[in-house]
Subunit: 343 residues, 2 copies
């Protein structure tokens, strides 16, 4: 029996494991345009494409009830899924929301969760159309599926970047990671000294980054209004470096990043230094920012120059030039991928 041999899943990592487990699956349906391996699946629905993205969020892995208000959890769990639809240059229209809950959750607690879900649905104009509700022996597990649409001439994959293209991000990076560190620190203090009040007053920006991120609907609205189609796009959930590796690998290109152009909020700079962490490391590897990373053809440079909150961080180069980081000190280093590993 197969159980005789035992390989730990950590050996393969999340992406390696998915590749390994799905290697024998083929796409046989005419309507299956894109399967496993992008932010969302792409299904041909006749006049346009239907986009489907799904996430599984587990208490104790993705969220900690000690410092996550349920309303925020409801909001964020929807938003991070919508972000995957935007990353395909699509517009989310519907979601399904499933929960497995242990008996520690009351109806009132779930009302808070659903108040957050409702707020996200209203904010992003999506409809809740289904889901499943069941019990769990321990804790809460959430599964969200987002459904959206995009034009057949609008869809953006990870694999369309070409040498000469400009690499952009839609906003500051690293805030969510630092917000999480802050909350974890306060949790430890609370565990050791339950009477000490949390000291989070000066950190509202960082706390909001981790507890209430937003998806970049405005960027996709801008693309559609200006008829600007990025050559590739991905949302930054595992960290900028990890997503750059996905773009490079899928597009079979190299890239060149200017350290000084990577956008880091002033509060993140200060907090990272107070934590004795390099702000750049946080921006490259922090994750959970949910900004969009995208590439555009040089002919579209003027259009992205005037896009609000957009930062140009580098260029796509030939594959054999590799993935390089031009540091503020003038050195050229190899970029290292090191996203959040949930295994």
């Amino acid at each position: 029996m197969a159980e005789d041999k035992r390989t730990d899943v950590n050996k393969l990592g999340e992406f390696g494991l998915i590749r390994h487990l799905t290697k024998d699956f083929a796409l046989n349906q005419k309507s299956s345009v894109m399967g496993v391996g992008d932010d969302a699946a792409v299904i041909d629905s006749g006049d346009e494409y239907t986009l489907i993205s799904t996430d599984l969020l587990v208490e104790g892995i993705h969220f900690d009830m000690v410092y996550t208000p349920l309303k925020h959890l409801g909001y964020k769990s929807v938003v991070v899924n919508l972000s995957d639809i935007y990353a395909m240059n699509g517009i989310p229209k519907q979601i399904t929301y499933s929960i497995a809950i242990s008996s520690k959750y009351s109806v009132e607690a779930l009302e808070e969760l659903y108040a957050g879900i409702l707020l996200a649905c209203e904010q992003y104009n999506v409809d809740l159309v289904g889901g499943d509700t069941t019990s769990s022996p321990k804790g809460m597990t959430i599964s969200v599926t987002a459904i959206g649409t995009t034009g057949k001439d609008q869809v953006c994959y990870r694999n369309g970047a070409k040498p000469g293209d400009i690499i952009c991000v839609t906003g500051y990076l690293g805030g969510a990671y630092l917000g999480l560190q802050l909350l974890e620190r306060e949790k430890q203090i609370y565990i050791e000294h339950p009477t000490v009040q949390p000291d989070l007053d000066n950190a509202s920006y960082l706390i909001e980054c981790i507890l209430k991120p937003e998806a970049r609907k405005d960027a996709v609205d801008y693309f559609h209004a200006k008829k600007l189609r990025p050559t590739s796009m991905i949302d930054i959930s595992d960290g900028l470096a990890s997503e750059l590796f996905h773009i490079a690998q899928c597009s079979q290109v190299g890239l060149f990043i200017e350290e000084t152009n990577i956008p880091i909020h002033q509060e993140s700079q200060l907090k990272a230094i107070s934590f004795n962490i390099d702000p750049l490391t946080v921006a490259l590897h922090g994750g959970e920012d949910y900004e969009l990373l995208f590439t555009v053809s040089p002919k579209d440079l003027d259009l992205v120059k005037f896009m609000p909150d957009v930062f140009i961080i580098g260029d796509i180069v030939e594959k054999d030039q590799g993935l390089k980081l031009h540091t503020s000190g003038g050195k050229i280093l190899d970029l290292k991928a090191q996203g959040w590993q949930h295994f």
Copy 2:
């Protein structure tokens, strides 16, 4: 804060809880045709409808690793989701499959699970197009989303049954429940006497009902081939009685069921009696059969008469006549709903 008051979720039950939590959600998107409250959500994709159904399966609640081979679990978890698409008179085309797993699961164990998923995909001609893979502090949680299509003049809801319609089911009921009882009994024997070998040789039909159910693709293929559109349809996951209540409530009708017409396999009859359970109770309330329960207009009687494995079990009547069961002893009783409650 809302946590001051604490209402146990059991007080509302699964369906009551879903109704309560989703009551403030409206459908605002033009493309949202049907939201929460049927077997699948219905989305207008232009020429046809897209159907989306999702399930969350939790170790220790929906499956027990002591007697569930992982390959069977993979197969069944796909099939039960496809069943929801068939219940809308649709054809499933794609699935997404997400898992949260604890460190007790090896790569080899997951290979077994995915072998079952692949088999189901091949058997039912659906493509795996996405998912999420993450870790869990304890056990396994599975989330499957099925995506299908149906013609705008083919879709079947729960709410279309009319007085005079004929009520049909596609096959034997109660086998899955008895199979589960058998496995639970063997588990207890194993826990108490680990050296005793399981005695399941004469129960392959019942074991297959619980471990490897099939979705009724053939019935939907027949409907499409014969241009027969049921007036209402639902799949039997929570038990015949519970599903009859859904049809009656959604369609605002009553119904009259002939006990002698409820199909029970001979092995189920014998096993129920050996367990000292009424076979009828098992057929009405057992659940997990994944047969289709549907109603047709009397003009279509000849078409269902010649349908393989179809049993006519009663008639739709006016709402004020209630939900009645005509027993084999000649009595007329009120039908009672009592599905599987996972809370």
